[in-house]
Each structure stands twice: as structure tokens, then as C-alpha cells.
Amino acid sequence: QKEVTGTIKDEAGTLLPGVNISEKGTSNGTVSDFDGNFTISVEENAVLVFSYLGFQAQEIEVSGKSVLNVVMANDQEALSEVVVIGYGAIERDKISSSVSTVEGEELTKVTASNPAESLQGKAAGVQVLSGGGNPGASPQILVRGITSNNGTQPLIVLDGVPLAQGTSLNFLNPNDIKNFQILKDASASAIYGSRASNGVVLITTKRGAAGKPTINFDFSQGFQRLEKINVANADEYIQVMNLRRTNDGSAPIYDQADYNTSTDWWDETIENFAPVTNLNLRASGGSENIKYAASVSYFKQESNYSKGFYEKVTARFNTDFQISDKISIKQDINPRVESYGNTPNVLYNVLRIDPLTPVYLPQDERTGNIFSIYEGSNNQVPNPVGSIARLFNETKFFGLMSNTQFNYEIIDGLNFNSQLGLNINHARQDVFNPTFFTTPNEQRQINNVTRRVDENFNYVWNNTINYTQDFGKHYLNVLGGVLFDSQTYNYVSAYREELPSDENPDLRYIDAAAGEGVSVGGNEAVETIFSGIFRGIYTYDDRYFFTGTIRADESSKFAEGNRLGVFPSVSVAWDVDSEEFFNVDFINNLRFKAGYGQIGNQNIDRNGQFFSIGTGNYVFGGSRVVSNYLSQFGNPALQWETVEDKNVGLTMAIFDNALDFSVEYYEKTSQDLLFNVELPNYTGIPGLVAQNVGSFESKGWDIQVGYNKTWGDFDMDLNMNVSTNQSKAVALAPGNEQLFGQNREDLGNRFIKITELGRTVGLFYGFETDGIFQNQTEINAHSSENGQLIQPDAQPGDLKFVDTNNDGVLNDDDLTTIGNPFPDFYGGFTANMSYKDFDFSMQWYGSFGNDVFNYPRTFMNAGTQDVNIAAGTLGRVWTPENPSAEFPRLTLNDRNGNYQRPSSLFIEDASYLRLRNVQFGYNLDIKGFQKFRVYVSGQNLFTITDYSGFDPEVSAGGDIINDFGIDYARYPVSKTYLVGLNLTL
């Protein structure tokens, strides 16, 4: 035995900590320390293997030397990293399909309850649609546009375990994440079969490495602010409301002298500072035989109202056991506790309630309980301060995930792997609605309490056999497996009325209630998928790459006979730079790739096939009788939605790998598209009917450019990505040529979203406007061929609507598409820079060419239903003196329907460029700490946009086709200011 010591540096002379050093042919090994030093005892004639991510591994014979100073060369391919793919891992350069990787380090720069938020702008082709700024909101991830209307969220796979559709990533601690791999095309995702059509996000958590323990501690504390929205004060409100009436020849409604109140409802409801706290502690380390990574984290975010918060504690213990040369086991445990209070959804009412109403009743008029001290508004908008006071809706959640992986190496290169993933969770929601009286329309005479308990148990059992071998220039990797996935949902809920007290929080439980109003619910649903998979990867001479996969799924979601789906894929790649004829010096890497595959979507209501019977009540002879009716119209013919996907791409690295570039083009076409169709009401069919209605096509480009360069102590890393996408309906079944969404009562019970054959899905639908009539002559000129007025009820100052079909009449036949909520392109720009101990990073996100249906415009310059208006409305509405106004005249009767029709008046271009995050850090040199970094950061500090609403990044809510792009003044994305600390021991 001999002791060998040494120092490891990179080519620039930087000391490299964490390099793996192992004695070839043995399990003996170590890791270089923080200063790049190592010590190892080996045989005299040993061969040492030095390996480190991003560097070429090298083997050095000891040959009796006791000091070995090693220079690690950058891996010219920079691709030899091993990454996870479905049901396995492989060197990155062997992948021929479309995969984007986002490193965990990037995710922790943004402090957010949900790691998905940090994905925004980080990967081409991956759109992250905000879920709003309220605590615990979950954004939606959209991978390469829309080929489906049902659950467009990608499948999330955590360390090999597929999670239930729609699982919020809130449960994850961003500090636990090693990376996200986004499988964007079918050749990558088809191995996930019937759940892959919206893309697949593989999340890998950090694992321990052999060596001395590393302790990390991270802390950040900040606050969030909302940008104030200015609405009219009492004076302006009175003027507008009176003008609405006098313009129509009615008497004014308010006399300024009668009112001395001017309530600023924003100030009454919104708090200036909403704190956010994030704490994280982790430890990792181990020996060659046992490695561990353990963490515990705490996160709390409060809303900008007096109610509403999100709080979580998560822990994770990832362990790796090398039992023998043949057998290894990984065991991960991830318990978590979440608690959240619903954030009031009152912003809409804050904007609408009149400023003449005081918040509270005068002391001497208060008669009821503490929930009845609020004044009823003059314009019948519920008092938002009272609404907040009465909101009691909290949920406590406990979850436990366990992930066990057993690996047995049968012979060299042949591995059997069995994985058991368990996911158990329990949620308890408590709702209390107190008795109160504000007005006859705004009151509750009997209080009530609801408790709902959900218990879900999901498990996944994957058994795979994998064979990997090099045969000279041939490389082969074959995988086969049998998978079973089961999800059980279970709930019980209870509702009771008449609690003895409204004000005593200790009495808000079911047993305390005494009333006759009782309602209980309970249900259990089980969904299972049984699957077989096969994949073959073959490469020749690191020049030609081929992957083929096939998966068969049998899903319980469909009626018998329609349960089996088979999903094949194939992809190829060609590394041109490895060819002998290729000798362009400055190009380090040049690769072409192409893929094809079929993937499925089974995200439909599990009851969609059934014709269900509902229960109601009627009265005969003085007593209640039970009634039964058809409550859901089913469709037993429902089938898989299948997506056919084609992808071609090019990646390139030039100038010593400093600049890398990739561009990809894709086309996805869905067949048997699942859509919940609303049939005409004359059918008497309740609700929506799930149908396979046709085919959508989604196509676009993903472009990514990275630049990475070091000049002495200055290091710069820039990354930009741009994506385009267009999703069109290319076939629709007879009777479904027009698919509608978003029926709006106040715009005439019309749908404002339409999907039509040959056009982009989910366009805005309404009347086209052509300015404002300035005088009667213009109104008269807007007439049919035979001189009939198209808008006979119009007056000067009213909107001119376009008679799009030129039939001389303005009616619903003139409805047309008036906007597109989807951007022409969107993208992100990230810059990370460091100089000595200083570091700086910023991240921009932008969306360009997208329209928003600005719903508040339907009232904020009109006073429809006497709701409050935006400050400055008088200067924005048409009057003879203000002929160039943007908005039509004020009118009470609105005989022209200016504000009773969906129209282009409400559509705006909402392109924006937003500074998502900016961070400035400094690393203090303190003895005993490997790292002692302090930083300040700001999120969403400013946004460049022409959009006149509150936030151009409108939250998605609901389904993408029918709900996206409509601004309902939900809780906007807020500005966050933070200070933080990162310590490493």
C-alpha cells in the first residue's frame, strides 16, 4: 500500500474540488477537497481514474509516484454527462430526441412556492403560464403548444415515479432538485405512452456523493407588493353616474352635497407588505457503500390581504446502498406538510364597489354580530372588506412519498431494476361561513361548517431489464419492462348548519352544529394503467445514433374495448463533426437529428363514459319526494387521444464550445381529440359531453443560444431562447365545426372563445368595431344597400360595429374572431456573471404578439351597472368636446349595446417583456465556511408593455383553449424584494 497525494486543477489553473478519484478495478476511492487536494492509499502499480462532470476522465498510472498533480481537460464534447431518460439513464450525447435540461441551481434563484415558476423562460418550447400571484398558486406548464383541450399539463415524473395528472409542484423543495429534463418530442416521451402527449418533465433530486459531509444552509426573507390600481373617487364617480343618466335624458342620481365619504377600497383591503420566508438546510455525504442526501425546508408566503397564506415544511432523505458488486438499493423518503388559507378573490369587487359607501355601518346602527358591521354598497357590489372578514377556508395537507429502487446486475451490462414508488396524501379542508346581514341580497341567515377529508393513495411498480454493451464501434442499449400504476382517490365530506356561535373559533366543527341542514358526501375512484415498454438505442462510432421505443398501455379510464393503446417512436441523429471529412476548426460540435412518434392523452373525466343518474327533490301531498334524473350524458365510444409528432433539429457548438446553438422544428397532430362539447340547449342535455371531435395541429420552432466565456476572474454565462408555436384545428367532426368556450352572461350570454376548422384554437370571438360615430350623418351612412340603418338605435358617441357579412343587419351572424391569445413568439434571456467574489444574475421573460381580453374594460370606463370606474374616465369617454376618445359615450340604457356585446373594444395587444428576477450576491471569505454568500434580489421589478390592464401576464386558470388570455383581474403577479444568505460548510 502506498499513499498518494496531489492537487487537481482545470486548464485555467482553478483548483477543482469534488473530483472523483478511484483505484481502477477496486471499490477504493476518494474525492478532492475544497482546495482540490486529495490523498489516497493504493497499490504500488495502481491505475487512478480521475473523473468529474464536464471534464474528460483520465487514467494515470501511479508507477511508484507519491505526488500526482493533475490537470483535468474540459470535455470537448461537453456532453458526456449522464442524464435520466424514461426508465433509465444514458450519456447525453447518445440521446437523439428533443430534451431540454434546466439545472437545479437555476431554479433556486427565484423564491417561489412552486418550482415550476422558476422554469419560465429557461427552456425553449416550454411556456409557463402564471397561476396568479396569490400564495401557493400553481402555474401551468405548456410544452410546445396545444394538441389537446384536456389537461394540457405535462406528465411529471419524479425520480422515475409518474405523478398523478395535475399534481402541483408545490410539494417540491427547489433546493432538492438536481435538474429538470423536459422531454419535448414524442421520440423522447413515447416511453410514457398514454400520458405523454403534453410533454413529460423528469425531475431528478440530488443524491449524496462519497466524501466528507457537506452542509448547506439557505435563507431568504422578503416581501411582496402589488401595484395600486387607481379608480375614481367619490367626486368623479358622482359625475360619471350622473352623466350616464343625463346623457339618456334621465334625472341625475346623486347630489354631490349629500356625500362626504370617499372610500378608497384598495387601501381598505390591500396590505402593502406581504412577507415571504424561505429556509433550507441540507446535508450530504457518505462512503462508497452508503451515500445520503438529507434536507429539510420551510417556506411561508402571505397574501396582500389580511387572509390567505401558504406554508410548507418538506423533508427529503435520499439514500444509496451498494450492498454488493451486484446489488444496489436506493431508498428515498419525502414527507411534507402544507397548510394554506384561501386567498380572498375580491379584487374584482374592490374595483367595482362605489366610493360613496363607507366600509362600516355607523356605530349606532350596528345590531348583528361582528360580521354584520359592514355597510351595504349603493351599487350592490358586495362589500369586499366584509367578504374578507367572513372568509374561513383553510386546508392542512400531509403527504409522504417513498421511492425504492432495487438494482441487480445479472451479468456485466445486464441489469434488472425494480422500483416501487408510493405516494400517500391526506388533506383536510375546513370551511366556515358565518351568519351575517348586510342587505337582503348579501346575507346569510344560517351559519354552516364544512369539513372535507381527502385521502389518496397512489403507487407505481416498475420492473425493467436493461442491457448495455459496447461492441467495438457499436453501442447497444436495450430496455424492456412491465409497469403498473394505480391511483386511488377517496374523500368524505360533511356539511352542517346552525353552529351555536359565529364568533367563537373553537365551535366551528361538525358536532357543534344543531341545524336540520345536513349534507354528507363520499366517494372512491380508482384509476389503473398496466403497461409494457421496450426501447432500443444503437449508436455507431459516436457518429450515428438511433433510438426506437414502443409502449402499450391499458387504462381503466375508458370503456371496455377502448382501453388498449400502443405508442411507438423512433429517432435518429448524425454527428457531422465526428466524420473524418469534417474539418472546420471552429465548429466543435455539429449534429442533426430527427424524430417521429405517437403519444397519447387520457386526461378526461374518469366518468366521461357514463350516463349517470342524479337525485333531487320535489313535493307532493305536503311531503318531500325523491326525484331522479339524468345528471350526466356519457359517451361510451370515447377513445384515446393520439398525438403524432415529428421533430427535426440541429445543435452546434463553436469557438471552443463558448457559443452553443440549437434549433428545432416540430409538428404535432392530435387524432380523436377529446373535447367536452356543449350541445345546443334544445337537446336538454345537462352539462358537457366528452367527445372525440377531431384533430389539432401544433407546430413551431424552438431556438436556443448560449454563450459561456471566462476572462481571468470574470465569468459570463448568457442564455437566450425563443419559441414560436401555432396550434390549429385541422379536422372537426360533423356538428362540432365550431367549439365554444367562456359564455359571458353580461356580454349577452355569448361565448367569447371559439375554435374553428383551419384556424388557431381558442381565438377571441365577438363583434368587430370601427371607431365611434361622431354624428348622425355617420350613423345614417352605416346602412344597407336599400338604405336601412344597420344600427338604428345608435347615437353620436356610440360604437360602430362592422356588418361583417354585409347583409345589412347587425346580428349574431356578424360575430367574428377578434383576437388571438397566443403569442407570435415568446422567450427568455438569462445572464449569470461573476467577478471574484461578486456575482450577478438576471432573468427576463417576454411574450410578443399575444392579445388579451381585458375584461375590466367592459365596465371600467362605462360604469355598467353603476360600478366604479377607472380614475380619469371622464377624459377617456366620448363627448362632443372629446371626439377622439377611445371609449364610447356614457349611457345608462346602452341601446346600442356598446357594453353588451363582446367586441374588439375589449381586446388589447398584451406583448410584454418582464424582468423576472435580478440578483446581486457577494461571497464573504470567512474561515470555516466553504461559502458564505449574501445576496439581494428582486422579482418582477418591472415590465415593459403597452397593455392597459393590471398585468399582461394573465393567469391561465382552467383549460388553456377556453380560458387562457382573459384578464378577470385576478390576483396579479406581485413584485418581490428579498435578501438572502447561502452557507456551505
Partner: protein
């Protein structure tokens, strides 16, 4: 959940399914069906929209004939009425296959058939010709997306033929067990048929069908007018078809709503649809104190039949007319506690004998039988202690019958349809009452000195001035339906 294909296995299930067809007669909540009927009431000379606190163009606009076609109330009336029709279609298709007592089976089928006719009648009188869907099976075919509107006559013909089929199989009211009261009776079906004939001016048929109901011996006039609309009088002697309401705090869909929607805003009501001074004047001109006091409650006056209220607060600054519908009012002592919407035990009487007697009077008059008409008129007036001039004839008799209909059935959701169908020299009466020169509009804008209506201008005095007979004889088809049908369902002219 139980599935439709397994459901129709027993007589009991068949009966429970038929029960659900009844649910849409008034809707399961206030807004689905019933409030639209109140809006129709508001659109006449008997009522104002009323509530001057809530600016609601989808309510007040319709009442003022500045009609907003997209009003949810029009939309949901259409939607839920068709839900009722589909329930009937399912019952009529599935129940014949169920093994059960044949008498019960034919009764259940006749109930469903009556209700389906009820729904189509309610559609045709509001919208004109509508799509006719008569089976459940056709809903499963793609062609269901291509249905278009039938003509008004086709819908009425269908209603009539269905009722003719149902009538023989329906029991008399007295044949039902006490716990089945409220189910469709032969008298109810005959009344509906008489009304359909009346609307189509099939005078002899209307007269004869009304006479059959009157002579059936199943009904008599309530001796005391005030007892007709009483919270304590369920399935009374005069009641032919009613939606019974009970207080049941466990279920909110089987109690009444109108007492709240049309109650005073100081009496936990919403103040919609309040009686006009024009209606009050009609009673006063006739010297009809008995029916006036049981029809209108006036601000500052005691409430007839409620000893606890000496001076009623109708909130005249928040209520256009300072008047409240007495027929929907529940005396304090009879109120459930807590007193709230969806829990009122006041039945909603859809058909009663007085209506049938007046149909008989009108139909007899128009079929040339003035004596029979006068006799029926006298019966109605006698109950409320009014003399009848038995020498009336010609248009005077006609006008007397029409006026009697207004007074007797005031606020019972009949007025709009009566004014639309009753014609003078071929012109609908509604066009002489409403419209820019209508008598009601002129009264309010020029003559009225009513202390409440002329001072609360939150609802404009010229209500009805925008009425246009070329448009407003029908309501608009809901725009949603036009969109969902891809334009196969066309809009009514003028909307």
C-alpha cells in the same frame, strides 16, 4: 352512481324519474324558470321592474322593452325548460319497457306527456316556433345538431295532440291519494288544452274544454278570495295544478322563492316586480275592494290578513311604486324561521278554476254565446261581492271579460300573454297599452300623480315606450343557443 341503462328496472324508479320532470315547472331555484316569469309580469302594465337600487339591465331593460337578448333569465328559462322536456322524453321512451302495474304505467306516461306539453306551450308562447325534440334516442345521433325551429303552429299542434293523448289516462284530482296531490290530473291537462285553444283563438274548442273542467265536479271556487293564495292552503278546492312548496331546511329546492324576490327590501325581500298604480286604479274604478286588498300592499297602510303589520314599509325610495304583491306575501305569524328564500311554504298555483271560468267566458263570447259568457263572468264577480250587469253585450261584454281577467288573475303571470293574444281590430291590445303612445305610457308620463311612482325616478316613468309590435310580441332566442346550434336556430325578427 347509478347508470341510465340499469335504472329503469322497477315501478318505483319509474315514478322517481317522473318526479324529476315536475322540477322544471318552476325550476329548482329562483333564477332558472320562475324569475323569467316575473320579468314577463314586469313587462306589462300591472307591474314595474320595481327595485331601483340594483342597476340590472338584464331585468329592468326587458321590463322597459330595451330588451337585452343575452339576459341570463331568458337563457336559463330556455335551457331548463328543455331539460324538463328531455326528462319527459327519457321517461316516455324507457317506462314502456318496465314491468309494472299497467294502470300506474299509463298514468306515469300520461304525467310525462302532460308535462312535456306544458313545457312546449311555455316555450311557444314566449319564443314562437321552437325546435321540437320528442325522443331520447335522437339525442344520440349526430343529426341532433342540425335541428331547426318548427313553426308556431307546429308547436301548438304538437301540444294539442299530446294533451289529447294524455287526458284519458290521467286521473281526476279526487282519484289521487293524499300524498300524490300535485301530480298532473285530467283537469290540469284539460285546462292547459283549453288555454292552448284560447291562445290560438279556437273559440268553440276552448269553450268546450273549459266547460269540461268546470263540470268535472273536481273543483270549486274558494269561497273567500283571500284564501286562494294562502300559505296554509295547499291543493285547495280551486287549485287545478300547483307547484307545492314546503319549508325544509335540509333541502333548499322545494320551498318558494317569489315571496323573497318580490318582497319589500325592508322585509328581507329583493323588491323586484311591484304592482303599478295603474293596476290599483283598475281595482278602484271597479270598486273592487276585496280583490284589491288581497292583491296589493301599499306603503304606509296595514296589510290585509296580517294583524301584526299596521303600517307596511314598502321602502318607496328603493321601490318604484311603494307597492308589494300581496299574493306572494306571507303574514308574519305564518313565516318559517329563519325566513328565507327557497323555504317559503306558499304554493305556486299555476292553474285555478277562476282562470278556467274566465277562459270559458271569453271563448263563449267569441263563439257567439254571450249568455254563457255572462253567466261565467257573474260567477267570478259574485265571489268578490261585485254585481254583474247582465245586459252587457258586444265589445262592452268583451271588455268586461278582459277587465275581469286582469283583476281576478292580477300578478299571477298571465297578463303579458293575455295582452299579446287579445286583439282589437286585429291589433294586439299590448300595442295600445305600451309603445310611445300607449295608454299606460301616457298615464304614467302625463296623468299620474301617484306619490311614489312620480317621485322615485330610479325607474323611468316612460316604461314601455320602447315597445314595438313588430319585434316585441315574442322574446329573443338566447344568443348562446344561436351560437351552439351554429346558426341553425335563427333569431326572432328585430333582435
Amino acid at each position: 352512481r347509478q347508470q341510465l341503462d340499469d335504472y329503469f328496472s322497477t315501478a318505483e324508479n319509474s315514478e322517481l324519474f317522473v318526479n324529476s320532470i315536475y322540477s322544471q315547472v318552476n325550476g329548482e331555484s329562483w333564477y332558472q324558470i320562475e324569475f323569467f316569469r316575473q320579468i314577463c309580469e314586469m313587462s306589462t302594465d300591472d307591474n314595474w321592474a320595481g327595485n331601483t337600487e340594483q342597476p340590472r339591465p338584464d331585468i329592468t331593460g326587458i321590463a322597459a322593452y330595451n330588451v337585452f337578448p343575452g339576459s341570463s333569465y331568458i337563457n336559463s328559462f330556455w335551457e331548463f325548460t328543455y331539460i324538463g322536456i328531455t326528462r319527459a322524453n327519457i321517461a316516455l321512451e324507457r317506462i314502456p319497457e318496465v314491468e309494472m302495474d299497467e294502470d300506474l304505467k299509463s298514468r306515469l306516461l300520461a304525467e310525462a306527456r302532460f308535462l312535456r306539453a306544458w313545457y312546449y306551450f311555455d316555450l311557444v308562447r314566449n319564443f314562437g316556433g321552437v325546435p321540437i325534440v320528442t325522443t331520447y334516442t335522437e339525442l344520440l345521433e349526430p343529426e341532433i345538431r342540425d335541428v331547426t325551429r318548427s313553426s308556431e303552429d307546429e308547436v301548438y299542434d304538437y301540444v294539442e295532440s299530446e294533451l289529447e293523448l294524455a287526458i284519458p289516462d290521467l286521473p281526476l284530482k279526487s282519484e289521487y291519494a293524499a300524498n300524490d296531490l300535485g301530480r298532473a290530473t285530467r283537469g290540469a291537462a284539460q285546462t292547459l288544452l283549453a288555454k292552448a285553444y284560447l291562445y290560438r283563438e279556437k273559440w268553440p274548442e276552448a269553450r268546450d274544454m273549459a266547460a269540461q273542467v268546470i263540470q268535472s265536479g273536481q273543483y270549486q271556487l274558494e269561497p273567500n278570495f283571500a284564501d286562494i293564495h294562502s300559505v296554509n292552503n295547499h291543493h285547495g278546492v280551486e287549485s287545478i295544478f300547483e307547484v307545492e312548496m314546503i319549508t325544509n331546511f335540509q333541502f333548499t329546492d322545494i320551498g318558494g322563492t317569489i315571496s323573497t324576490t318580490s318582497g319589500s327590501r325592508t322585509d328581507q325581500g329583493w323588491g323586484w316586480c311591484v304592482p303599478s298604480s295603474d293596476l290599483e286604479n283598475a281595482f278602484l274604478e271597479e270598486g273592487d275592494e276585496v280583490r284589491l286588498r288581497s292583491t296589493i300592499i301599499k306603503h304606509g297602510e296595514p296589510v290585509f290578513g296580517d294583524p301584526e303589520v299596521e303600517s307596511f314599509d314598502a321602502a318607496p325610495t328603493r321601490n318604484k311604486s311603494g307597492r308589494i304583491n300581496r299574493k306572494a306575501y306571507i303574514p308574519i305569524a305564518d313565516r318559517e324561521s329563519p325566513y328565507m328564500i327557497g323555504q317559503h311554504a306558499l304554493p305556486v298555483i299555476r292553474f285555478r278554476l277562476a282562470d278556467v271560468i274566465l277562459i270559458h267566458a271569453e271563448a263563449a263570447y267569441f263563439s257567439g254565446n254571450e249568455q254563457a259568457a255572462l253567466e261565467s263572468l257573474r260567477q267570478i264577480r259574485e265571489r268578490v261581492s261585485l254585481d254583474t250587469d247582465m245586459s252587457l253585450s258586444g265589445v262592452e261584454l268583451r271588455d268586461a271579460i278582459w277587465k275581469e281577467r286582469r283583476l281576478e288573475l292580477a300578478l299571477e303571470q298571465q297578463r303579458l300573454y293575455d295582452l299579446r293574444r287579445q286583439r282589437v281590430n286585429g291589433m294586439p291590445r299590448i300595442a295600445s297599452i305600451l309603445g310611445p303612445n300607449g295608454s299606460f305610457v301616457e298615464y304614467n308620463t302625463e296623468e299620474s300623480t301617484d306619490p311614489f311612482e312620480t317621485t322615485n325616478l330610479g325607474e323611468a316613468q316612460n316604461k314601455g315606450a320602447l315597445f314595438d309590435p313588430s319585434v316585441h310580441m315574442l322574446w329573443p332566442i338566447p344568443p348562446e343557443e344561436i351560437q351552439l346550434s351554429r346558426g341553425n336556430i335563427t333569431q326572432n325578427p328585430g333582435y
